[in-house]
C-alpha cells in the first residue's frame, strides 16, 4: 500500500493498520447510479453501494441478481400449512392413525363435537391459514436478515466518520481491498474519476476483541438459566409421595360442601343441606347464588311459612300487604289457581266443571275445597302458603313455578276472597244496597 494511492484520503494512517477498502461519496442518487454502472463494468465483485433509501434502478446498475427469498418463503409457508393441518388432525382426529404408545401428554385423540366428522377440514382451515402466514412472514423477515448477514455490528465502512451520513442524505460506493481486481492505485483513480471524494478505509490488523470476562459471565448465565428447566424435567420423570406444590390454591383446597363432611361455611358446621334453589327467583333477580340467607333459604318464615315450630300466622316481614300485592296476588291466582278453584275461589273452575260434567263415565273428580270453607278459613297464612308450595291431595305442588313473593301475594288474595265470601248485606254501604236489590 503506497501513500500515493490515496489522493483524497481524509483519515490519518493509524499504527499497525491495513487498507480495508476505498470509499467514495456522492451527493445525488443519480450520480451514484451512474458510478455503480462503471464500477460494475470494471469487473469488481466485492463492492457495494450504500444509500439512505432504496435508489431506483440501483439493482441493475450494481448487477444484483434477484434474491432467492421468495422461494424460501413459499417453501416454509407450505410447511406452515402442513403444520396447521397436522396440528389440528393430531389433536382432534388422530386415534385412527397415531401410535398409542406415546407419552400421554403428546397423544392426540378423536374429539367428537356435535356429530361433526373428526377431520373437519373446513373448520381447520383458519388455523392452517394463520400458520401459513405466520411461518411465511417470519421467513420473509428473518430470512431477509439472514441473507443480508444481519445482525452484524462490524463493517469496515463504519470507520469513516463521513459514512454516518449514509443513513441520512449521502450516497457511497465501497470497494473492498479483498476484491481480486483491487489495486490500491488504479482503483482509487477509477473511483476519483466517478465524481465523488475517495477515502481510504483502514482497519487495524488486530481486531479488538470484547473483554474476556464477558465470555465467562455469558457461559455462567446460560448454564444457570438451564437449571430450572432441568429441575422441571427431572420432576416430570420422577415419582414422589409429597403432595404437589400448587402456586394457586385453586379448587383443590377450598371451603366447599362435600358429601358427609362438616363445612366451615355455615355457622352450624353442617355440610349436607338442601340444594341451592335452581329456579329463577323473581324477587331476588339472579340465577347465581349470592348471599347466604337468600340463596340457602335459611329464612323458614319466608321460604316455608313456618314460625317457631308451627305454621306462621302472620305474613313474613319481607311482605308488605298493600293494594299492589293484592293486585299481584289476584293476577297470579287467576293464572295458576282459577282453572280449578274458579275466579271466586269456591271451586267452580273450568277444570272442575269439566271433571264433574259426567261426560266421561267412570271418572271421578274431587272438587276443591272452597276458600270460604271453615277449615280453610281457620288455617294459618303459613299453612296456606305451604299448600301452594307443596300441593295437597290431587293438587300438585306450585313451589317450582311460583316464586315465594308471589305465593305470599296469592295467600293475601285468598284472604281477600274469604273476606268477600263472608259478606252480608250489612257490609254494603246503605246508599249502594238498592243497586244490589235491583239484581
Amino acid at each position: 500500500m503506497s501513500a500515493a494511492a490515496a489522493p483524497t484520503s481524509m483519515t490519518p494512517p493509524a499504527a499497525p493498520a491495513r487498507l480495508a477498502g476505498l470509499l467514495v461519496e456522492f451527493d445525488e442518487e443519480h450520480n451514484l447510479v451512474e458510478a455503480c454502472r462503471r464500477v460494475r463494468d470494471a469487473g469488481f465483485t466485492r463492492w457495494d453501494a450504500h444509500s439512505p433509501f432504496p435508489v431506483h434502478g440501483i439493482d441493475e446498475a450494481v448487477g444484483i441478481r434477484p434474491t432467492r427469498l421468495p422461494l424460501l418463503v413459499f417453501a416454509i409457508g407450505m410447511l406452515g400449512t402442513l403444520t396447521g393441518l397436522g396440528l389440528t388432525t393430531w389433536a382432534n382426529a388422530s386415534e385412527w392413525f397415531a401410535p398409542q404408545n406415546l407419552p400421554t401428554n403428546l397423544q392426540g385423540y378423536n374429539f367428537l363435537v356435535s356429530g361433526k366428522p373428526y377431520v373437519s377440514l373446513p373448520a381447520f382451515i383458519p388455523v392452517m391459514f394463520e400458520l401459513t402466514v405466520l411461518f411465511a412472514a417470519f421467513t420473509a423477515g428473518l430470512g431477509m436478515l439472514a441473507l443480508n448477514g444481519l445482525p452484524n455490528f462490524y463493517n469496515a465502512v463504519f470507520r469513516s466518520p463521513r459514512f454516518r451520513r449514509a443513513t441520512t442524505d449521502r450516497f457511497f460506493i465501497y470497494v473492498e481491498a479483498a476484491d481480486p481486481r483491487f489495486n490500491a492505485h488504479s482503483t482509487a483513480t477509477l473511483l476519483s474519476q466517478l465524481g465523488g471524494q475517495v477515502e481510504r478505509i483502514e482497519e487495524p490488523t488486530r481486531v479488538e476483541q470484547p473483554p474476556r470476562w464477558l465470555f465467562t459471565v455469558g457461559i455462567v448465565a446460560v448454564t444457570l438459566s438451564l437449571l430450572p428447566l432441568m429441575v422441571i424435567a427431572r420432576a416430570r420423570v420422577s415419582k414422589s409421595r409429597e403432595p404437589k406444590i400448587h402456586i394457586i390454591q385453586d379448587m383443590d383446597n377450598q371451603e366447599k360442601i362435600k358429601a358427609q363432611r362438616a363445612s366451615p361455611v355455615f355457622a352450624d358446621g353442617r355440610g349436607p343441606r338442601f340444594p341451592v334453589g335452581m329456579t329463577r327467583e323473581q324477587p331476588l333477580g339472579t340465577t347465581v347464588a349470592r348471599g347466604d340467607a337468600i340463596s340457602l333459604k335459611t329464612d323458614a318464615h319466608f321460604f316455608e311459612g313456618r314460625a317457631g315450630g308451627d305454621w306462621a300466622t302472620a305474613f313474613p316481614p319481607q311482605i308488605t300487604v298493600d293494594e299492589g300485592l293484592l293486585h299481584r296476588g289476584q293476577q297470579r291466582f287467576n293464572i295458576y289457581c282459577a282453572p280449578c278453584h274458579g275466579y271466586d275461589g269456591t271451586g267452580n273452575g273450568t277444570v272442575n266443571n269439566k271433571g264433574n260434567s259426567g261426560e266421561r263415565p267412570g271418572w271421578t273428580w274431587v272438587k276443591p275445597l272452597s276458600v270460604n270453607d271453615q277449615t280453610v278459613r281457620d288455617r294459618a297464612n303459613g299453612h296456606i302458603f305451604n299448600t301452594i308450595t307443596n300441593g295437597i291431595r290431587t293438587m300438585p305442588a306450585y313451589g317450582d313455578q311460583i316464586p315465594e313473593k308471589d305465593r305470599w301475594a296469592i295467600v293475601a288474595y285468598v284472604r281477600a276472597l274469604q273476606r268477600s265470601g263472608a259478606t252480608t248485606i250489612d257490609d254494603v254501604p246503605a246508599d249502594k244496597r238498592s243497586e244490589l236489590e235491583k239484581r
Binding site: 445525488e28 442518487e29 443519480h30 455503480c36 457495494d48 450504500h50 444509500s51 439512505p52 433509501f53 432504496p54 435508489v55 450494481v62 444484483i64 434474491t67 427469498l69 421468495p70 418463503v73 396440528l87 389433536a91 382432534n92 400421554t104 401428554n105 403428546l106 392426540g108 385423540y109 374429539f111 363435537v113 373437519s120 373448520a123 381447520f124 383458519p126 388455523v127 391459514f129 394463520e130 400458520l131 402466514v133 405466520l134 411465511a136 412472514a137 417470519f138 420473509a140 423477515g141 431477509m144 436478515l145 441473507l147 443480508n148 444481519l150 445482525p151 452484524n152 455490528f153 465502512v157 463504519f158 459514512f163 451520513r165 443513513t167 441520512t168 442524505d169 385453586d250 347465581v288 349470592r290
Partner: protein
C-alpha cells in the same frame, strides 16, 4: 425559499401535476433533522409530560382493577346469565378493530401504490401493536381462572387435553396471535433503517449502543436494500389477507353461533369495514395532536388527512350500509326472532346505544363529502373522536342486545357494567397510550427512508432536472 412554499395547500387537485407529499421545501437532511429531532430533543414538549403523567395514572388504574379481579374473581364484573359477554369482549373487539389500520396502511396501501401512506404508516403500525396488546388483554383476563389461560393454546399437558379446533374461539387465538407477531415483525423491520439513522446521528454513548443494537448493523447496502424491499413486498402481500382474516375470524365468534342478531353471513365483511373505519379514526385522533406537537406538519400534510378522511367516509358508508342491510334481511328473512331482535335494538331498552352507534358511524362521517370539513383540523378531530365512540358502541350493541334478549322471554335479562368494568375499560387506554408516548419519544415516528423515496426532491432528480431550488412546488402555486 422555505417561506414561500411552507403554507402551500397540497390538497388542491391539479391534474397537470402530482401534488407533493412533503411540503416545506425539505431536502433529505432537513427531513431527517425534523423526524429525528423528535427523538433527539433534550426535553419533549410539556404536553408530552402531561399526557404521559395522565396515561401512567390510567395504566395504574388498569393494574389495580386487574389485581382486584384476580383476587376476587369475575363476580366483580356485571356479567351473569344471559349476558356472559359484556364490556370485556366489547373492548376486545374494539381494540382489535383499532389495530387494523396499521397493517392496512402498511400493507394494503403499499400494494395499491398509495405513496402517501409513507408519512403515516410507522405511526399507524405502532398504534396497531399497542392496540392489539390491549385487545389480547381482555380475553386473557375474562376467562375466570387466568392462571389456566395457557389452555387456550395447543400445549401438551399432563391432562392430555387438546383444544377444540372447530371452535372459532380457538381460531381467534391463532388469528390474533399471528396478527400480533407479524405486525410486530413488520413494524420492527420497517424501522431498522431509520434506527440506523438515529444510531449514526447519536451523540452519546448510550444512544449509540442502544440504537446500534436495535438497528442490527444496518449500513444501507444496495444488496441489503434489494432483499429488504423484496421482503417488505412479501410481508405486505402476506399481511393483506392476514388483516382481512383477523377481523373475519373475530366476527366468526358471533356469526357461527345461532343467536339472533349474531348468526349472519354479512359479519365478516361488515366487521372488516368497521375495523378499518375505527382504525383510521384512531390514527386521526393520534396524528392530529402529534403533528402539531412534534412539528411534523410538512410530512403529515393536510393532504394526508384529506385522504384518510376519504377512507373514513368510504368505510363509514359501508358500515352504514351493513346496519341497514341487517335490518332488511331481518325483515326479508321472515324469522320472527331475528326481526324482534333488530326492532329491539333500535327501539328497545338499548335504543340509546344503538342510535349513538348509528349517528356516530353512519351519519356524522357523511360530513366528509364536504371538502371544507375534510380539510378542517378541528372538524376532523371531532369527527374522529365521535367515530371512536360510535365504533365502541357498535360492538356493545351487537354483543349485549343479542345476548340480553334471545329466543325465550323467560331467559331475558339486562346488563349493567360494574365500576370495575368501566375502570378496566378506561384503564386500557393507559396501556395503549403509555407505550405509544414512549414510542413517540424514543423511536422514529416517521418512516424516513420511505418518505425520502416519495419526496419531490427524489422525483426531481429522477426526472433528470439538475436545478437546486424547488421549482416543482413554486410552479404549482403559480
Amino acid at each position: 425559499m422555505a417561506s414561500i412554499s411552507f403554507d402551500y395547500d397540497n390538497t388542491l387537485e391539479d391534474p397537470r401535476r402530482r401534488a407533493p407529499l412533503v411540503i416545506g421545501d425539505h431536502d433529505y437532511k432537513s427531513l431527517t433533522d425534523v423526524v429525528c429531532g423528535v427523538a433527539e430533543a433534550p426535553r419533549p414538549p410539556t404536553a408530552w409530560f402531561v399526557a404521559f403523567g395522565i396515561s401512567t395514572i390510567v395504566l395504574a388504574t388498569l393494574g389495580a382493577m386487574i389485581a382486584y379481579l384476580f383476587f376476587s374473581g369475575v363476580g366483580v364484573w356485571g356479567l351473569n346469565n344471559p349476558v356472559g359477554w359484556g364490556f370485556d369482549i366489547t373492548n376486545f373487539v374494539f381494540w382489535v378493530g383499532i389495530g387494523h389500520a396499521g397493517t392496512l396502511i402498511s400493507a394494503i396501501l403499499f400494494l395499491f401504490r398509495q405513496k402517501w401512506r409513507t408519512a403515516i404508516n410507522r405511526f399507524a403500525e405502532a398504534m396497531t401493536i399497542f392496540a392489539v396488546i390491549c385487545a389480547l388483554l381482555f380475553p386473557g383476563i375474562h376467562v375466570g381462572r387466568v392462571w389456566m389461560a395457557y389452555y387456550m393454546g395447543p400445549i401438551p399437558n399432563q391432562m392430555a387435553m387438546w383444544p377444540q379446533f372447530r371452535s372459532p374461539l380457538l381460531w381467534d387465538v391463532f388469528a390474533v396471535g399471528t396478527y400480533f407477531s407479524v405486525s410486530l415483525l413488520f413494524w420492527y423491520l420497517g424501522m431498522v433503517p431509520d434506527l440506523a439513522t438515529l444510531r449514526d446521528r447519536a451523540t452519546t454513548k448510550i444512544r449509540q449502543i442502544g440504537y446500534g443494537i436495535v438497528s442490527l448493523g444496518w449500513n444501507g447496502s444496495a444488496r441489503h436494500w434489494h432483499r429488504y424491499e423484496r421482503a417488505y413486498l412479501i410481508l405486505a402481500a402476506l399481511s393483506t389477507p392476514l388483516v382481512l382474516s383477523v377481523h373475519s375470524v373475530v366476527s366468526f365468534d358471533f356469526a357461527t353461533s345461532v343467536l339472533p342478531g349474531w348468526h349472519t353471513t354479512i359479519f365478516p365483511p361488515y366487521f372488516v369495514a368497521g375495523a378499518i373505519f375505527s382504525g383510521f379514526a384512531m390514527v386521526m385522533t393520534l396524528a392530529i395532536p402529534a403533528r402539531e406537537l412534534f412539528g411534523l406538519k410538512d410530512i403529515i400534510t393536510l393532504r394526508h388527512m384529506d385522504n384518510m378522511n376519504k377512507i373514513m367516509l368510504a368505510t363509514g358508508t359501508m358500515v352504514g350500509y351493513a346496519y341497514t342491510i341487517e335490518f332488511f334481511i331481518a325483515w326479508y328473512g321472515g324469522n320472527l326472532v331475528e326481526r324482534f331482535v333488530f326492532v329491539n335494538r333500535a327501539f328497545g331498552p338499548y335504543a340509546w346505544a344503538y342510535w349513538i352507534m348509528f349517528s356516530c358511524n353512519a351519519f356524522i362521517p357523511q360530513l366528509f363529502w364536504i371538502k371544507k370539513v375534510r380539510t378542517n383540523i378541528w372538524a376532523m378531530f371531532t369527527i374522529s373522536l365521535l367515530v371512536n365512540v360510535g365504533m365502541w358502541f357498535e360492538r356493545f350493541v351487537i354483543i349485549v342486545t343479542s345476548l340480553a334478549s334471545d329466543f325465550l322471554p323467560s331467559a331475558w335479562d339486562s346488563y349493567r357494567p360494574t365500576w370495575v368494568e368501566i375502570l378496566t375499560f378506561i384503564g386500557s387506554f393507559g396501556l395503549f397510550m403509555v407505550p405509544f408516548l414512549l414510542f413517540c419519544r424514543y423511536l422514529p415516528v416517521i418512516a424516513m427512508a420511505e418518505v425520502k423515496t416519495v419526496m419531490p426532491h427524489a422525483h426531481r432528480h429522477a426526472a433528470g432536472s439538475h436545478g437546486h431550488t424547488a421549482p416543482a412546488l413554486t410552479e404549482v402555486r403559480a
